[in-house]
């Protein structure tokens, strides 16, 4: 395996798969066609499952989804469940 994927890359990949199109770090997710409550929930679920974390409810607001970077920043704030010893 290569070097581990950064949170930002993982978020970009998961969001892109759900939205069915390429998204860049600065893509405004809120304005993407098809970004609705289901897409939001799917992206959050994908991130939580793959990274083994839980995003707090307070982070699930429009500001977090301004771009891939802002969403990745919210992910960075959460300590991975598996990382706790």
């Amino acid at each position: 395996m290569g070097s581990p994927e950064s949170n930002c890359d993982a978020v970009r990949r998961i969001a892109g798969a759900r939205l069915g199109r390429f998204v860049a770090e600065d893509t405004p997710l809120l304005d993407e066609p098809g970004f609705d409550s289901l897409a939001m929930a799917d992206i959050v679920e994908g991130i939580e499952d793959e990274l083994g974390i839980e995003l707090p409810a307070q982070s699930l607001v429009p500001a977090t989804f301004k771009s891939v970077s802002t969403l990745a920043a919210a992910v960075d704030k959460v300590v991975p469940k598996g990382g706790e010893s």
Binding site: P33, G34, S37, L38, M40, D42, A57, Q58, L60, P62
Partner: protein, 525 residues
Amino acid sequence: MTSIVEAIDRVADADPDRTAIAGQGGSYTYSELRAASRAVAETLRSLVPPGSVIALDLLKSPRAILVMLACYRAGLPYVPLDAKTPAARRDFQIEDSGCALVVCDSQQADPTTGTQLRVTLEELISTTSSDHPNSAVPVAPDAEDIAYVLYTSGSTGQPKGVLITRGNMEAFVDWAQEYTEMRPDDRVAVHAPLNFDLPVLDVWVGLTSGSTVMPVDQSITVFPQALYEFLRDNRITVLYAVPSALIGLLRKSELRQKSLSSLRLLLYAGEEFHPRPLSDLIQAVPNAEVHNLYGPIETNVMTALRVLPVHLGRDRIPLGHPITNAHVLLRTEGGEIVTTTGRVGEILLTGPSLCREYLNRPDLTANSRLELPIDGVTHTFHRTGDLGSWGSDGLLCFHGRASGFVKTRGYRVEPGEVEATLSRLEGVAEAAVIAVPHEQYGALLHAFVTPESDRRELLPNQVLAWCRDELPSYMVPSGISIVSALPRTGTGKIARGALLAATDSNSSSVASELEELDGQPRIKL
């Protein structure tokens, strides 16, 4: 019957400074709303011939609601469009409705097709009525005139318009006002998009009751926590939403920890709410009464139930009792009307809010209706495609759908319309769309697509991107499988049961059967 316009104007007389509508992009007191809606009504009447249809290509906002009221005041039917839906679908609705004028948000002022007059919200509101000499002609609309047109998914590949008369609308508002006991100190959220029927209650019952109507910005409705903060910060007292949204609120916001102390009335409709999540929700909002309202877009609400602990212990929440002046019949496949408890039949509905017809589709109207007598008087009933039975307590109970459309997140989708869209994609030979049951969303759509023989390289991503361009997001399949052939029943029909089983990864036997059929690994998004 109380006229909606008269009732709203009475509030403006009695309490002119009370806030009528508040939200992003401004607010109106009742007296401002009366003055502004009169002015816009006069402008509209000067722009189009009497009775013309007005399309509203607008995001949900206080001003969009103002224009709806202005149309109603001017006797002009309005068609609210979903500003988030792809342009081609909006264009179809604009053409199909025969509208004379499109009112749009400024950023959508550039038409893709069509010859209709377009005017931006800004232009419409800033024009003064003194410019229009015709405006003195009084408007005397009839109860049979069309109030608004709502589009819903159509099995033939295009959406179909449902024509709702002023009489339908006023009868519904009269009933809902009495049922909800809405009052001036209520603060009513407008949660669902304006092109659905839920906001008919929020907006018109709210305004005729002198309440404050608060449209929830569409970007907020996507985020449960943002919605929670909106409801909390605005001290919302009445919320009407689909179960999917309420379950999102329950699971992905601070609702469970902090509740919503102002909420007194929580109404849901649009899809089944399973007892377990509904119990959790009721526990989270102990100050609120919870009601299940039932009826398709063609009839609006026809039965209602205040959900009590006794109902939560059942397998399914009952639909309740017919509302005032509504009639419900259950009809077996053999055409027999069910009179005994426990026996299942298709739910047939009639009442004063049964829509006039589908726009331009007499065939669909005829197929959706049955003439049946009640106490010797013949009524026209709407066939819902839903199954029900009478309980021993007299409550109408729900038994799922017999046929036709599926419900996903409260939205109604004809799989045939999605299939028709998929079939238009170059390289697609055939498509089948099935509904996969889902606890929170009611159902999710899964598409099975076969490529034309020379297009083996068709990828799920291409199919998904096409759907995103052509369909509103709730109609876009959540799963897409490319297969070389669709399984068939003995009579040659698509074996939808086998496809449904194939979406369940635990069902290996059917999955392998499908793999044999397609001869290549299935690809799932």
